[in-house]
Amino acid sequence: MTQPILKATNLVKRYGRVTALDHCDFELYPGEILAVIGDNGAGKSTLIKALSGAVTPDEGTIELEGKKVSFGTPLEARDAGIETVYQTLALSPALSIVDNMFVGREIRKKGFMGSALKMLDYPAMEEFAREKLSELGLMTIQNINQAVETLSGGQRQGVAVARAAAFGSKVIILDEPTAALGVKESRKVLELIQDVKSRGIPIILISHNMPHVFELADRIHVHRLGKRLCVIDPKTHSMSDAVALMTGAKEPEAA
């Protein structure tokens, strides 16, 4: 197989006497959707936080494209090309779609107005935002200066995914992207995820929704008791296999 784009070895993270990650390994290959499933408390969130820079692991190494990295903040992971769409979306409701898409990486005007007066270049940001939203077929949002709080749940998810897709050059992490959505809106978000994948960006998908996981994922990382139990292929395993593995009702076949 090819070189993994994102690889973690022997990650350990303890919170007091609780070991959330217990010598956990992880690999993401180029161009794939890797689903991460696991029971509540299995350490999925901690694993994702370690990969996205929100948590610093106590032990172990993370490699991005073969180079060792260590992220102190989500910002550093972002600068390295790893974008995360959190379950809470991390959007500011009262700010506009454009403001939200560019939070933390605004474009300034050129010349004196930009360098001395730090003036933002709204025309450029609006054009870029419009372009990215259209690419993902999200332009039924008519006015990109409208506040995010005026959007529906699916549209908000769309904006958050578009933000990640627009800037995430290497890896996109999606945490429960369909958890709060209805059937129709879930469907659109799933299509959106496939759109992003077709553009060659690998995706880590965390979800409790087995049908969605089996529909989208190329491989499924089963997380149990703080470590990777096994990686299964959705084509050769059933949903009940996956559930049995992650709950401990069944042990993985010796590989």
Binding site: A90, S92, P93, A94, L120, L138, S152, R187
Partner: protein, 360 residues
């Protein structure tokens, strides 16, 4: 989201029926909006309109009651002078309230810094510009102290600034010996401290440099809050701090910078207050903290953070000034002025809540 005009039969079994589903998503029934709802809608998208309308209305009403005297250029410029100090404090307060905080120590910082500037320049013989500069730096330091307790020690802004209010007030009494610095001494040793009390006349209006300073402070801060990345981050932090953190904003730094800048603005107000009052009194502006919050609230800035324009606070301060001047001219007792301002606050917040109820 795109409307899949005719989704291919893919996905889960139960989703097959989606192909025939209604493709409209929560469309708006535009025609059914009543005039009142339309007004509500317009106000929701332009929050500063409310204080502007109230200001225009109150000018109109007091113009009718008090007649030409009220509307004279002289009286209007006098209102500007009267609100200038509280106005500048309200500008500092607005920034902090936009971050979902509150600062009870603004006036205490202001008076403390004016005392420091006066003591240095007059009693200790420091050159006045240096004295003023030290006052400005002191203002930044006092603001940073508030910001540090709030972000690093994680104390609520209300408690932090309630504490620093007392601390700064006590320091101010200690440094000044509870004595005012007399106007004649300032004129003799440090006339520059009174710079913002000087004025120029335009068409019968007497405009002090302090009034001009207030307007300038608002314009500069409005620009910073609306046209720079820093300003957008201030709004994002006030709106939802956790979301802002995850989106990559270093919210602690933003908050400390806001409190530090507010401290600087308070020190500027301290300098301007020397010109306005004439002397330096450690007991002055004791109600300045609450008056600045009043102006911000009447200006339509949400106490929950993230919403409202700083320009609202300018109009809020002017509304208070117009009410006081108009009622005074109409011969109404001071206690009823205070009574009216109280109602103004409650009505302003009630209108604000009503506007917020609009769904998009």
């Amino acid at each position: 989201m795109t409307e899949p005009t005719n989704p291919q039969p893919k996905g889960q079994d139960f989703e097959r029926v989606l192909g025939g589903s209604d493709t409209r998503v929560a469309s708006f029934a535009e025609t059914k909006r009543t005039p009142v709802q339309q007004i509500q809608h317009i106000l929701h998208s332009n929050p500063t309109l409310v204080p502007v309308i109230v200001l225009a209305l109150s000018l109109f009403v007091f113009g009718l009651i008090a007649g030409g005297r009220f509307f004279s250029a002289f009286n209007l410029s006098l209102i500007m002078q009267q609100v200038s100090i509280i106005g500048i404090l309200a500008a500092a307060q607005s920034m902090i309230i936009i971050t979902a905080g509150i600062d009870l120590s603004v006036a205490a910082i202001m008076v403390l810094m004016s005392v420091i500037m006066g003591k240095l320049s007059i009693d200790l013989g420091v050159p006045t510009p240096i004295g003023i500069l030290i006052g400005m730096i002191g203002g930044i330091g006092a603001g940073m102290m508030n910001g540090w307790f709030i972000t690093k020690v994680k104390l609520p802004p209300f408690i932090t600034t309630l504490g620093t209010w007392s601390i700064f007030f006590a320091l101010n009494l200690y440094l000044s010996g509870a004595q005012s610095i007399r106007s004649q001494d300032i004129d003799e040793f440090a006339p520059l401290l009174k710079f913002f009390g000087h004025s120029f006349d335009v068409a019968g209006a007497r405009i002090t440099y302090g009034s001009v300073l207030m307007v300038l402070v608002f314009i500069v801060l409005w620009y910073m809050l609306n046209k720079t990345a820093w300003g957008r981050h201030v709004y994002a932090v006030g709106d939802d701090k956790e979301a802002a953190d995850l989106a990559g904003i270093r919210s602690d730094r933003v908050l400390i910078s806001v409190y530090a800048l507010a401290g600087l603005v308070c020190a500027i107000a301290g300098w301007a207050s020397i010109g306005r009052v004439g002397s330096i009194s450690p007991q002055s502006f004791y109600e300045g903290n609450l008056q600045s919050i009043t102006a911000v609230v009447i200006g339509g800035i949400s106490l929950f953070g993230g919403r409202g324009s700083i320009m609202g606070a300018l109009f809020g301060a002017l509304i208070v000034g117009v009410f006081q001047s108009g009622l005074r001219m109409a011969g109404v007792d001071v206690l009823w002025q205070v009574f009216a301002i109280g109602w103004l606050i409650i009505i302003a917040v009630a209108i604000d809540q009503w506007i917020r109820k609009v769904s998009a």
